[in-house]
Every structure is written in structure tokens, then in C-alpha cells.
């Protein structure tokens, strides 16, 4: 009888990192954080340095590729293009403060978050239902498999036909971008639950419902969170496209407007905002993941 040992492998913690020497016990964590921050600065500095150098020697045309010291110079001028109300199309000249910028970032983040939560919850429900009810599986699985490879970009017209202009199409596109992948991932995760877990539950007399609720659900969550986190960036890309074409507000709309008005500084400023927001979003997600999945070692959580 071949018994897989995935179960125990999952239980095992990853080897602890070799502690960094040279600091007293208390200062060690701070020291590590400082080192890490140092490398971050160095990494960013590399890009900025090359760019500024290219500008200084005249390779980069400041109109087309303005280096950071130019596009970050006149922030209040850039802020003018951010309309904090977020609900209206083609806004210009309504903003003007940091708050309007944060408002725009907030709207985009809200769309990503709502789309992700909806996609995660529904894909979990659908995935579990496919495995739990035979008929649901036979009816739904072919559909999911056929719809999964369709790019979210192809869904843009559908989103606009269905929901018009506004928040809904953007949320819908984020949802589409992760729903099918996550549903298929849920199925894979369910199929990979160690056989022993289920046999064990059966020997103590657990019903099918109890097995799904108390064994399969907690067993698949870590893997699902990893898949979700890998799809975070895809969700971010999709929301920007959706905002550019179908919403008329948010970071995507600002980028599109900057392109249309040939405002290279604004393009790069918005790109900086997008990168920063995406990074913070992923960090926040990592924190939540660690809280929810406390039993999985930190380095087994995946992602950054």
C-alpha cells in the first residue's frame, strides 16, 4: 500500500534562517531590517542612477523619458490631474493635493480588493461544489476549463456591455482575472489533500460534510492563498486596463490621460504610484496570510 508522505512534509517547518551575527539579541531584528532596507535602496538606486546618468550625458530625451528628478520635481503640478471623487470620467484640474492622489489610489485599491475578495470566495465555493456534488462538477467543470484561458482583456467589452461605465466593470474584470484560475487551483488543492487526513476523519465517523468543513477546507487554504498571492499582480494589471478603458477614473485613467496628452512626467509619476501601491498591497496581503495561516512556516507561504 503506497502511502504518500506529503502530510508530514507539510507539517515540517522550513529550516530556520541562520541568524545574522554581530548584533546583541535585541538589536538583531532591527539590524536585519536596516540591512534589508539598505539593499532596497541600492536596488532602486541602480535604476535611478542609470536613468539620471542617461539624462546627464544626453541619451534620454527629457521630454520622452524624464528622469526622476524631473517628474518628481513639481508634485503639486502633477497632483492637479488626480480627481479624488473617482466616480467621474475625464476629470482634470479638480485635484491638487496629496489627498486627491490618495483618493485616486484608494479607488483603484478598492476595486482590486473587492474583485479579489469576490473572486476568492466564489471560486472557493464553486471549486468545493464541483468536488462535493457530482452533478455540479459534470455541469460546471467543462465550462470553467473553456473560459479559463480567455484573457481578461477579451472580457473588457463584455464588462462594459454588462455593467456600463463605473466601478462595476473594473471589479468584474479583476474577478474574471482570478476566478477561473482560482477555481481550477481549488480543485487541484482538494485532490492533493493527503489521503490519510480523509481516512483518519472517516475512521472517527466524520460525515462527508464534516470532512469538507473540518479537514479539506483547512488543508487547502495555504495553497489557495499562495495562488491568490501569485495572481495579485495580474489583478493589478487588469484593473489598470479596465480603468483606462471602461471606468474613467483611478490610476489607469490617469495613465491613459497622461498618454493622450503626451505628458511623460505624469506617466512616470503614475507608474511610480502604481509600483508603490502594488508593493504595499502585496506586503499587506503577506501579513494577512501569515495571520490566517499561522501553522504554515513563514518561508512556506510563498510570494515575496
Amino acid at each position: 500500500m503506497a502511502i504518500s508522505d506529503t502530510g508530514s512534509r507539510r507539517m515540517r517547518r522550513a529550516a530556520p534562517r541562520i541568524p545574522f551575527g554581530g548584533w546583541p539579541e535585541a538589536g538583531r531584528a532591527t539590524g536585519r531590517a536596516a540591512i534589508s532596507a539598505g539593499w532596497w535602496c541600492a536596488s532602486l538606486g541602480l535604476l535611478v542612477g542609470f536613468w539620471e546618468l542617461a539624462w546627464a550625458v544626453g541619451w534620454a530625451n527629457p521630454i520622452l523619458l524624464p528622469p526622476p528628478h524631473i517628474f518628481l520635481a513639481d508634485l503639486t503640478d502633477q497632483f492637479r490631474y488626480f480627481d479624488p471623487t473617482g466616480g467621474r470620467a475625464g476629470a482634470m484640474g479638480e485635484g491638487g493635493s496629496v489627498w486627491s492622489v490618495l483618493g485616486v489610489v484608494g479607488w483603484t485599491t478598492m476595486r482590486v480588493t473587492v474583485g479579489l475578495v469576490l473572486g476568492f470566495v466564489l471560486s472557493l465555493f464553486v471549486g468545493v461544489a464541483i468536488r462535493y456534488f457530482d452533478v455540479v462538477g459534470k455541469l460546471t467543470l467543462p465550462l470553467v476549463t473553456i473560459l479559463a484561458p480567455i484573457s481578461p482583456v477579451a472580457w473588457i467589452p463584455v464588462a462594459v456591455f454588462l455593467f456600463g461605465i463605473g466601478n462595476a466593470p473594473a471589479i468584474f474584470l479583476v474577478f474574471v482575472a482570478i476566478f477561473f484560475v482560482m477555481t481550477l487551483s481549488t480543485l487541484t488543492q482538494i485532490d492533493q489533500v493527503p489521503k490519510e487526513y480523509i481516512q483518519l476523519a472517516r475512521t472517527v465517523g466524520a460525515s462527508k460534510r464534516q470532512i469538507y468543513r473540518h479537514v479539506i477546507l483547512p488543508a487547502i487554504l495555504p495553497g489557495l492563498f499562495v495562488t491568490l498571492r501569485m495572481n495579485l499582480f495580474a489583478a493589478w494589471m487588469v484593473v489598470l486596463i479596465a480603468e483606462a478603458v471602461g471606468v474613467g477614473s483611478g490610476l489607469g485613467q490617469v495613465t491613459m490621460m497622461a498618454r493622450n496628452t503626451f505628458n511623460a512626467s505624469l506617466v512616470f509619476f503614475t507608474m511610480t504610484l502604481i509600483g508603490l501601491t502594488g508593493f504595499l498591497f502585496d506586503k499587506a496581503f503577506g501579513l494577512i496570510q501569515r495571520k490566517v495561516l499561522w501553522w504554515v512556516g513563514p518561508s512556506n507561504v510563498g510570494g515575496l
Binding site: M1, S8, W295
Partner: protein, 261 residues
Amino acid sequence: MTLGLSISNVSKTFSPAGREPVHALRDVSIEVALGEFVVLLGPSGCGKSTLLFMVAGLESTTGGAIAFDGLEVRAPGPERSLIFQEASLFPWLTVRENVGFGLSIRRVPPGERARRVDELLRRVGLAGAGDRHPSELSGGMRQRAALARALAMDPEVLLMDEPFAALDIQTRARMQDHLLEMWSSTRASVLLVTHSVEEALALADRIVVFTARPGRIKAEIPITAPRPRDPYAPEMVELAKHCSMLLREEVEKSFKEQELL
């Protein structure tokens, strides 16, 4: 009606679609009396684990019958507790929650559940580890938690599938002693699968030696020596030689078969 576990003329054939059927077991009959410790010894792949899973009610037989206290086994039941090769504790539950898992599935009220779990943890020597997670335990501690979880169901027979195979030799010997202590303080019978002659001799009232596939009973060896047993006592050395010889014949047979394939 016979009390205890009765396995009569059980066979098992796996018939994977589009391939030759595999005969895992043929005409196996074993009676396990109440409180008896029976060890199934055989080469890898001889179907002894399959037999254990059939007794647990997790696999169906393709011939013969398995009965417990005169009632035919068709599904898992609380009177038969299974312990796996590796502990397979749920990593998302604490040790205490793992041990109490079966009780909570059977809706034992929290107060009584906590009382029973604490008692069991004390008995297996994990009283201080109840709030830890399985990933924080050593292999031996995990198997003790698994033992406590199995005992929580008040089983009449413990089914153990090479429970100590993944442990190092010292831990293994310690766990065998521990199992014997637990066993003598319950009235449960034990049906334990192993491929280690030493383990079989240290534990069993009776050793059932299996042939290579298809698994049949090759010999039954009762051991009357009182426990704890000295493996270097002359009569134990004799038994060890005898068992090793029986086992070696079968291992060679299965090797030859594999070479033919």
C-alpha cells in the same frame, strides 16, 4: 458468535482499468482475541497494510469476510482505531485539538472532551505539549499524540500500520515500550504491521508471517516469553533466526519476481 476480530478467507484483488489485475491477498484467516497483541510481519508490498485498511473499513474485500464481535465490518467504526505510518496529525490544530478531533466529530460536549483529552495527554506523556502545534513536536512526540488520538475513541482494537518506521532506532525502542505500557493499561487488542523482526519479537503475543504477493499466511509464531523481553536471551535469538529465515525466503521470492518483470 466469536468475540474480537475475525478475518476469514479474505482476499483482495486490485483491478486497475486496462491493466492486469493485482492479487494483493489470498485466503487470509486470522482470529484476534480480546486483548491480544498480534503482529503482521512480511516483505514490503505483501498486502499486510491493505489487510489493516480493510479491517479499518477503509477498503473493501474482494473475497471472504471480516467481522468484529460477530458483526461484519463494512465501514469504519469507533471500536477500530487506525494509526498511520506517519502521525498525520492535522497541522492547523494544536495537539489538544488533534487528540480531541474524533470526540468533537462525535459531538462530545467540550467539558468532557477537555477532561478526556487532558487525561490522555498525561497518559502518553504529552501533558505539557497540549497547546503546541504538530510542527513543533519531534517524530516520537507526534506518534504519541497519534496514539492518544486513537485511544480517545476508546477502541477495542488498535490497528497500527508500521507506526514507528519513520523514527530513529532509539526513539523506536522507547516508543515500543511506551506502546506496551499503554496496551497493558487498556483492554484493547492490537494488530500491528511491520517488516522489522526485532519489532515483532519485542511486541507480539503472536507473529503472523506473510508470503510475498499475493500475501498468504506463511507461519504463525506464538511468543510466550514475558515482557519486557531480552532480545539476547537464547530462546529469543532462536525465534529471531527462525523469523528472519522465513522473511528472507519471501523477500528473495519477491525480488526474483521483480527481476522477471
